[in-house]
Amino acid sequence: MTGNTSTQRMPSYLEYQGKYTGIRAWILSTDHKRIALLYLYSQLFFFLAGLVMGLFMKLELIAPGRQIMGPATYNALFTVHGLTMIFLFIIPGLAASFGNFMIPIMIGAKDVAFPKLNLFSWYLFVFGAVIVLLGIFTGDGPPDTGWTFYAPYSLKTNTNVVLTVFGAFVLGFSSILTGLNFIVTIHRMRAPGMGFFRMPLFIWSLYGTAWIQLLATPVVGITFLMVVADRVLHIGFFDPAQGGDPVLYQHLFWIYSHPAVYIMILPAMGAITEIITTFSHRTVFGYKAIAMSSLAIAFVGYLVWGHHMFTSGMSETARLVFSFLTFLVAIPSAIKVFNWTATMYKGSISLEPPFWWAMAFIFIFMIGGLTGLVLGSVSTDVHVHDTMFVVAHFHYIVFGGAGIAFFAALHYWYPKMFGKMYNKKVANRALLLLFIGFNVLYMPMFFLGFMGMPRRYYDYLPQFANLNLLSTIGSWILATALIIIIVNLLRAKKGTPEEMDDPWGGRTLEWKIQSPPSLENFEEIPVIDHEPYELIEK
């Protein structure tokens, strides 16, 4: 094992002086670490924008009737909120930011396979985001179709669907190219001695993710193009007046968008695996099972899209098949949860903030996932489909799962990325507040859904008032907690190199190099002669 911890320190990637200075040193840099930070900042920006919209929606729903906005604004809000959160925050998600940062380091390489393509992907991402934003502020106003763009409503509405959909198409290509880059990197750039089964599990999860990005995204890309063609050229692919089949649109949309939910959650699961293993200070339990379950999720996840369409008038046979496959895809997730728990068995657990974040993740993810089973069963889904129950399910699993894992990863790798440490006490307390706020906000939605309150409802009947009020109060608690968390991260302090290089006692490669890493990560490419989580005496 050749690290450079004890030898002389190199200027970090943050300080490194290249050809350019100032902002150009960032936006023209092909260094995977700088690109990762570009993604991180843009994602956090969109995340905050989306959150504020969520907050306004909850404010509107605090009581029946009109509070602060009309129905048109509300409809536009949940559409843009969904779009921002899904396409601009959680689909690039952990892969684009932490994946970009960590893949080369964790496999012992100096960069990704195609650094320029990597930068290009970020530009596409920004370009797509700008188009989406243009769609909001120009023409006939923001789209009001929901993030699903269901035809034929999306063909009929007067709002700016074309621009938005086209923006999403561009974002899709950014995602595809990132996935492509990662696959090639993982195949070609592993350090000598690092076989596939010596890669950290975060890398495995990103590998699975990359395949989904590559194979599912083009389907929605072409679907979005068809929507544009329908609106602009009146081809009528999905317009029933011209023979188009709206249900076919839903098939195509979900052929992508179901696998997309695994694009969101797989990297999250990978990061959680790393965190739990590190803080248990032992090797991971069931390495192969976890690695293979990532691939299983990636590939079985392709075949279950129809569970979003149980009430659409699909044939009964299709409902049967999709329900069955949906239940099968829950198994690999279950395997992961069990292995995480087993990894803590006979460990030596240090209770640092990232560990608590991981625990919050497991709990909330379990609720989200288990309610997914209620949705996967046909007769129960028929009742709760398109109600607040679904909204609760996916906030639990998207925000509570992928979103919380994003912050868990941020707390875990923060010292590595910036060489700074936040206030741990504040971090723990804010997390507790977030946990409470989260459950107060979304738990009532399960009951609302079960009682029959449909989603995307601007106004509702009096019997739903109390739970909605409770939920709105939860959103304020959550907001407070998030503000504290972000401020705490911003106020992090520089630590000494000895503390920052390996603050947690991690065993994967990133903890063997200096914090923040130097431009080339490794002065000398390491030769790997041990298992990924094996204990190496220093």
Partner: protein, 205 residues
């Protein structure tokens, strides 16, 4: 694997770029894949209309275009062989032939579309709107799919033209055929898609 000490200098890995090209081809396959799903569902729903509408298309033009594309596929493949054998001049000739064939394909397509549009058959035209739903879908798909394919031809031509220039100035050469190989792979993909488009649109009798 050799790794030089200065990162970010163009470390050149032909295997990586080939793998990358293949992965890109997969996304293209699925891009058209989505359309083929739409096609098969609508054809399944409107078999008779699709059948009748297809009669409108000219099999001969389709056949000629198929053969043109097949030949161009071969010339690209040959140009790779030529470069591998170090015959730069032949490589350039073969690439030029490929580009010319691609152009002929597009010209043919232009006349074919032109004839349709002349007969008031184009997406959104009043005449088309007066036809049955199956007809509207058939021609909608026809224009959209062959149109997207034509765009791919154009992209492929640009790519091959770039390769042509690079072969001429020597940055793509016997020791470094990677770019030509990848350009070729892309061109074959375009051919591959046409192999399915042709029977699906022209040959439903």
């Amino acid at each position: 694997m050799e790794q030089n000490h200065v990162a970010h200098t163009d470390h050149f890995d032909p295997v990586a770029s080939k793998l990358g090209m293949w992965l890109f081809i997969f996304t293209e396959i699925l891009l058209f894949g989505g359309l083929f799903i739409v096609y098969s569902v609508y054809r399944f729903k409107h078999p008779v209309e699709f059948h009748l509408a297809a009669e409108e298309l000219n099999v001969t033009i389709g056949l000629i275009n198929t053969i043109i594309l097949l030949i161009s596929s071969m010339t690209v493949a040959m140009s790779i062989t030529a470069l591998q054998l170090g015959n730069k001049k032949l490589t350039m000739i073969l690439l030029a032939v490929t580009l010319v064939l691609a152009l002929v394909f597009l010209v043919n397509k232009y006349f074919e579309w032109g004839a349709k549009i002349h007969h008031d058959i184009y997406p959104g035209s009043e005449f088309l709107m007066s036809l049955s739903k199956g007809d509207m879908l058939f021609f909608g798909l026809y224009f959209f799919m062959t149109g997207l394919h034509a765009i791919h031809i154009i992209v492929g031509m640009v790519l091959l033209a770039v390769v042509f220039v690079k072969v001429r100035n020597g940055s793509v050469n016997q020791g470094r055929v990677s770019l030509l190989e990848n350009g070729g792979l892309y061109w074959h993909l375009v051919d591959l898609i046409w192999i399915f488009l042709f029977p699906l649109f022209y040959l439903i009798h």
